[in-house]
Amino acid sequence: MTEEKEILTVSPGVQTDKTEFNPEEAYEKSKFALETENLTVTFNGREAISDINSKFRKHTITAIIGPSGCGKSTFLRSLNFMHDLTPGAEVSGSIKIHGKDISEYDMTDVRRRVGMVFQKPNPFPTMTIYDNVAAGLTLHKRQSRKILDETVERSLRLAGLWEETKDRLKVSAMALSGGQQQRLCIARTLAINPEIVLFDEPTSALDPISTSKIEETLYMLKKDYTIIIVTHNMQQASRLSDYTSFFYLGKLIEHSKTRTVFTAPKNKLTEEYVIGKFG
């Protein structure tokens, strides 16, 4: 209990619902951006993850770690309906965004609230840098030039790419380096102003300098967004995240504060993984 109070005081963006004063509900509403209950994903009947119960606090970074094939990405992708495209995939259990069940939202609306950055940079090759960042807006509905200009600049600044690209916004996105492309993808995701941003190993294909730039960006984003990041890099998890979830064989083994996971894990499996005994 003391731990939760401490977190409440340090998180700056808590919103309390004043119209309907129900302290319990307001407390619940403000605390978690995303919750899952008994979340299970199967591919052609084979379970990839089972019964994941997890809660993600607002304005925190949660790292998801675990050996390859343990279901980290599967879990992350289920949070914004990305399994919709995979034939044979079935998702059961419930996901709540701000306490409201995901089924009450429109699917595209969920994806606009829960943005995602992928492992490999994937800018749209036929578009310029500007159009890439604006794509989420322009393909949603018509927008005025002014709003687009502002959004593109704000998003590129947030992603730390503005200084490098402000003079060549009309150049093809493919002209950028891998690290720049990944930051462009981050800017593209931020442009639609999501509440939660999912990162699926965003730096695993990048060099150390690009990696550190993206980590800086993530750290800054924390104050406005809730971030969940899948990573294979233990150091990255420990230096970046507030909370860490350890997945193993499709199960959530441990979810606690990053410090706890890396210094005094409750589960023996977690300890063995963190110190490098397997994985």
Partner: protein, 289 residues
Amino acid sequence: MTDYYSMIKNNSRGRKLKSRVMLFLCVFAAMLAILPLVYIFFYTTIQGASSLNLEFFTELPKPVGETGGGMANAIAGTAILVGLGSIFGIPVGILAGIYVTEYSKNMFANIIKFVTDVLSGIPSIIIGIFAYGLIVIPMQRFSAYAGGFALGLLMIPTITRITEEMLKLVPHNLREAALALGIPRWKTTIRIVLRTASGGIITGILLAVARAAGETAPLLFTSFGNSFWSSSLDSPMASIPVQIFNYAISPYDEWHRKAWAGAFVLISLVFIVSLIVRLATRNKYSQSA
């Protein structure tokens, strides 16, 4: 002791010789492939260009015995027939390709793929007879509609197959990226996937259109041919290939020259259209490759 250096040298001489022989065979095969094309092009140019004059593009065909006259109605007719065919064939081909790759992973898609392959192997004269049975007989007359339908039907398998192949080349993660931005599936397909593949699809459409423009067999039973201007789409219409066919099988020298000129015009048209579309799409999509 064997001289190591000379051993390599001997060996390398053998390998170089083999390499030369194989390279020669490759070049020879390439020449063999290009030769007919070059020959056709030059021979048609030599034979056709000399019979070509302004009249050819502006006048109607003259009866036997009279000199002069042209193929104006056939040139316009080919444009109309190919246009009609494109209106029918291009959308159907592209939509079928999109369905097969983007929206269906079941047996039905495989059936469509198989049927498309079979359809592309059907001789064009059979397509012509099919259009004859389906449109000409019920309408009781030859018409441009029937000709356009036959040409469109010929275009469909090529366009479907090319669309399918090109869409398959678009990386899956682009679709995911677009969907993750909350862009609806249909918009993702049109604005992201189709646009990324558009360079290849346009090339495929061109191939199909060029092939349709040169088809004679399916038009013999459908648009039939006409020696006069035909403005109505439900009456017989002239076309360059059919006109060439009629002229070429005639016993008159004058008409043979006209047939050569027609062949030259047909080849030039296909060549020019390909060139224009290539140039127009090159800069726009070269970075997408």
